[in-house]
Amino acid sequence: MTSKIVRTTAQFVTPAVLLYGLYLIIHGHVSSGGGFQGGAVFASSAALLVVAFGSERVSSLLQEHRLVAISCSGALMFIGLAFAGMGTTFFFNLFAGSPLFGNVPAYGPNPEDIWTGGTVPLMNIAVALNVVAGLSAIVLAMALATVKRGDDK
């Protein structure tokens, strides 16, 4: 628990951080960014909250087993998309050319068309889920471990 200035700033900065992370994730396939980068930005808000409000309060909000479940489902979605291409080969870009994210740009410059990329934007989201939950869980677990001396001495 730190000073009021830090807490107030955190309240204002966190939504901006979350929005920027979301932008990086969703626009990962048309501009710089992607699931890992956006996910890391997103998870940094968890670190910010821990600094401002203390790890106990944050961990009651973001419970460990929920984070694990989100991380698992992100990873499952990713490997599921890879399995979906199995009709051809593992990791085949199934949706390129299909109605879902299927626009295929010609070689060369083109405007930022978000409806492109096939499985890539979906995989970005899957990886982002995995990264957000995984990094938050790591940050929270380590922060909690340095605060309370566990029952295992």
Partner: protein, 93 residues
């Protein structure tokens, strides 16, 4: 003393090795690019992705990225495992 000499020797050998490879490497700014040129030219038609790095990460080398996501998942699992609460554990020597 012997330890010091050993450390210095190892460091000198490794330093020579790495500085030599830095000088023998292709001139900075002009890499060979037979594989990457193909990817730059074809990533838009093959994957529909304008961001070539995303195309490499999720399509051409997606399997590596699966491994990478696994590593992160693994680290989260491992850290949670290390700080688990151990109530109710059967005391064993």
């Amino acid at each position: 003393m012997i330890r010091r000499v050993g450390i210095s020797l190892t460091l000198i050998i490794i330093a020579v090795m790495f500085f030599a490879s830095a000088l023998l490497m292709h001139p900075f700014g002009a890499p060979p690019s037979i594989m990457d040129d193909y990817i730059i030219e074809n990533s838009q038609q093959e994957t529909g992705t304008n961001n070539v790095v995303s195309a490499v990460v999720f399509d051409y080398r997606g399997y590596d990225t699966l491994g990478e996501a696994t590593v992160l998942f693994l680290a989260a699992t491992a850290v949670i495992m290390l700080f688990r609460s151990r109530k109710g554990e059967v005391a064993e020597k």
